[in-house]
Each structure stands twice: as C-alpha cells, then as structure tokens.
C-alpha cells in the first residue's frame, strides 16, 4: 500500500483565538444583561429615581438622564432592544437572502441576470431611506418596522453573497457526481450547498448583526426606531445630545455600550469562521 494517511486531528483541537474569546465575552455579557432586564432592573426604567442629569454615583452607575431616570437601567434595556433588533433583522435577512441567493444560483442565465441586477439596485439603496419608506408605508415607527427595514436592507447583501458562494459550490465535481447519482435540487442544497456555504455565510451574518445594531441606533436617533419610552441606545444618544457639555456621561455611556457590542460581534464573527469550517481547524 503506497497510500499514507495524514494523522486525523480530534475535534478538540479547535483553535480559539484571543480575539474570538474577547468577542464572545463581550457578546455574552450583552446577552446576559439584555435577558436579565426581562426579570429585573436596578430601577424602573421609566420611573424618575433621582435628580436630573446626575453624575455617575454608587446609586446611579451611569448617572441619570434629563428626566431623572436611571441611565444604567435604560442602557440595560437598550441592550435587550439592540439584540432583539439584531436577531430579528438577521433572521429576516437570512430567510429572504439565502432563499433568493439560492434561487439565483440555480436559475437559468436570464433569471439570474435579472435577480443579480435587482440585488445590485437594492444594495445601492441606503438602509435609512428604505427604513423611512417602510415607516411611511406603515402606521408609524415601531420596533417592528425597524427590524423589517434593517432585515430587508441586509437581505440583498446576504442574497448576493449566497448566490456567489452557491455558484462556486455548484461548479464542483461533487455536485455533478451527486446529480449523476440521482440527487434532486433540494437534496443538493441540503446536503452539499448549505453546509459548504455556511462557514462563510455565518461570518457574514454575524457582521450583519453588528451592522443591524448600528442601523437600529441610527434609526432611533432619527426617531424612526422604537418610539419612547423604549430605551434604545440611539434614542439615549439623541436625548443626551442637547446636554452633552453639561452632562457628557449621558452620551458616553450608551456610546460605550453600542461600540462594545458591535466590536464584540465583529471579533466573534472572525473567530466563528475557524469554528464553522472543519478544513481550517488543523493548524
């Protein structure tokens, strides 16, 4: 026998980079805080609990806002809103984007061209403009319209990526082999295409999650996101804007929360690739 088998690595040899650990820690911190607000917050998020625009203290870790509400409580609730929007928007983006991307990849040349051109136009469309259109078309701004707008905007990017990735997979011999052995389209998608595009796709979805969090903050900042009294970080930033010279911490605190979650998501996304792709595990 001339064949030589390279040693098989046990799956335990997963390489966890420091960046991934930091990212995962930041993200889980936000998740824990966000989920915990469902059961407990230091103060009632809508109650006036102290002096207006108070500086950070032991009683109010991030101070109070212009109505005397506890800012730390509001930021905790904001984490929940940010994560809810991220999860919702990414779920919508994945559902629409992956479906359209796969259809385009399998479609005939003409259908694919039409879909690709439509996607390019959608991608050129600013998310905020799309969100305003959706808000204008519905009864008014709400958490739901924000999720829908961000999800639809992101879905065109996911669709384009899915289409490219799936095309590359479909050109491989193992797809032809599967077709020769009588696998139908759905089987090929389920068995070969999705598992092979998943590692790259999941990284992109994690990045989209971060972008969705920023987009939600921008929408609420403009008053197009969740209406008051929902304590979205974007709304907190917008409210702190007027008093940023007298009470800077009102803007700094939600800013730190927003940036730390987005950085955490991006670091997490990078590390995720190594975990999701078995061919990258051996180093």
């Amino acid at each position: 026998m001339t064949d030589v088998t390279p040693a098989l690595t046990p799956p335990s040899s997963l390489r966890l980079t420091p960046a991934f650990i930091i990212g995962a820690t930041l993200v889980s911190l936000h998740v824990v805080i966000g989920v915990s607000t469902l059961f407990w917050t230091p103060y009632d998020p809508t109650a006036m609990t102290g002096g207006r625009l108070a500086a950070p203290s032991l009683a109010h870790w991030a101070g109070t806002d212009r109505l005397g509400r506890d800012l730390f409580t509001e930021i905790m609730v904001g984490a929940r809103i940010a994560l809810a929007v991220g999860v919702g928007a990414v779920a919508i983006a994945a559902a629409i984007g992956v479906t359209i991307g796969l259809l385009a990849a399998f479609a005939s040349r003409t259908v694919d061209d039409v879909l690709a051109a439509t996607l390019d136009i959608l991608i050129a469309f600013p998310t905020l403009l799309l969100a305003m259109l959706i808000v204008a078309a519905s009864d008014g701004a709400s958490l739901g319209t924000a999720i829908l707008a961000i999800g639809i905007a992101a879905s065109s990017i996911v669709a384009r990526l899915t289409r490219i990735l799936a095309r590359r997979v479909l050109a491989m011999d193992y797809i032809t082999a599967a077709r020769v052995s009588g696998t139908g389209w759905l089987g090929i998608v389920r068995i070969h295409v999705l598992p092979n595009i998943w590692p790259t796709l999941v990284v992109n979805l994690a990045l989209q999650f971060g972008l969705a969090v920023i987009a939600e903050a921008s929408l609420s900042y403009l008053g197009l996101g969740a209406p008051p009294p929902n304590a979205s970080w974007g709304r907190l930033l917008q409210e702190a804007q007027a008093t940023v010279y007298t009470a800077p911490f009102g803007a700094i605190a939600p800013g730190i929360a927003l940036v730390s979650l987005v950085i955490g998501l991006n670091l997490f996304a990078d590390g995720l690739r190594d975990v999701a792709d078995p061919t990258r595990r051996r180093r």
Binding site: A177, T183, T279
Partner: protein, 269 residues
Amino acid sequence: MADLLHIENLTIRHAGLPLVSSVSLSLAPGERVGLIGESGSGKSLTALAAIGLLPEGMTASGSILLAGQQVVGAADRDIVGLRGTTVATIFQEPLTALDPLMRIGDQIAEVLRRRARRDGRPVSRAGIANEVAALMARVALPDPARLARAYPHEMSGGQRQRAAIAMALACRPSLLIADEPTTALDVTTQAEVLKLLEALVREENMALLFISHDLPVVGSAVDRVLVLRAGELVEQGPIGEVFGRPRHPYTQGLVEAARAFDRAIGAAL
C-alpha cells in the same frame, strides 16, 4: 441485445459552434469502451451529454438512448431516476469530486441511502454503516473505521479516488463512466487504482466508458476504443487493431507519440 447506451449522430453546439459533431457510439451491458483524444476533443462533453448534464448554454442534437430512454431533449426530472440507478461517474480530480465538508463515510452513506430508498428497501442506520464499511473494504481503503470519519483533506490522493470509486459503486450502476480517473494521480497510485477499477468492473459486470488521453492506460482497461479529434470520431475498433494498425493519420500520430515516449523512457533508464 439492447444496448445500454446508444448514441447516434450526437452533435453538441455552443453558441452555434459545433463542439462535437455526429458522434455515434454504443455500449452493450458489461462492455468496456475507451474514448480517447487530446484535451478539448469533446470526450468529456460526450459523456456529460450521455447523462443529460451538459453545461448551460450547450445544446445537444441527435439521439442518446440510455437504458432505452431518450436523453436528448428530456426534462431533468425524467432522467434523475435513470441516473441514480443506471450510471455513476468517477472524475479526474478526486479532491473536487468529494464534498470537502462531509466525512467520507457520510458521503458514501448518502449514496447508499438514496439507492436503498429508490429500490424501496428499508433503511437502517446500522445496515448503512455496515454497507459503508463493506464498500470501503471493497476498494481497499485501509482502516475503514477510521477513514470513514475523515474529511477529504485528511486523505491522500489515491485514497480520495478510492473513496470516489466507492461512492460510484454504492449506486450499483450498470454503466460506469470514468473521466480520466487516474490522470491526477502519481504513477504507482495510478496503476493500483486502475487495477482496482478493472477488477471491480469485471466482478460487478458493469459496462465501462473510459475517457482518457493516456493510451497505455486505456489499452489496459478496455476492449474497444474510439478516437475523437476536434469533436469528430476519426477511428474506432478493438483495442489491438486500433493501436496495432492505426488507419487514421491522427491515430497513427497518437500511437507513434506514445511509442516515442516509451522509447525515450527506456533509453533514459
């Protein structure tokens, strides 16, 4: 005796340009036929057309009867069933012929499960696992229990090609299409894989359509050979006749080139 594969006047066009013109060939059950020619002569296209998998933008005309069913112009769903039971293919590059993110055992099991469902046989996890192990032993993969859990990138080229052969066998096809199955392998592995293929084709009584540009390889694997050049069939006949007394100048050139190569190697040794 009905032919397993009967191609008549097959012409394949791309953007009006003929890539393969009026090729006819037939394969009886259990027969081993070689298709030779230089790169771009239309060997692989002919094979792809035979199973209705021409790349988009190419059109076939003429007649292709696969197990009695017309493939030219047939809807995909009408031939999907035919493909799974009648034909299997082995490709040149085993690395791209295996799903990189699926364990070898799972890939073989997938084909077995599909075949079992098609036959209406009950599918049990243990039964499939046994069949996978048997197939892997059949293609002489060492340590099947361990390799079944390996990903393609963790195997050698020869092992990958053996795994690909195991997947083809899992279909239990009556026709095996081997598209340059040994070209990507080194010479020693080439000889082993070739020997294995030959033995399997004989034992399973499969018909073999062997595509290659390597004359000695074809010579050892088939009974009858067809020579393609620029999409046209220039010569065909029993292997000894075509290689021994080639009639067409192109075939004479091919055979002479192979001989010259042999002599050069002989002189170097």
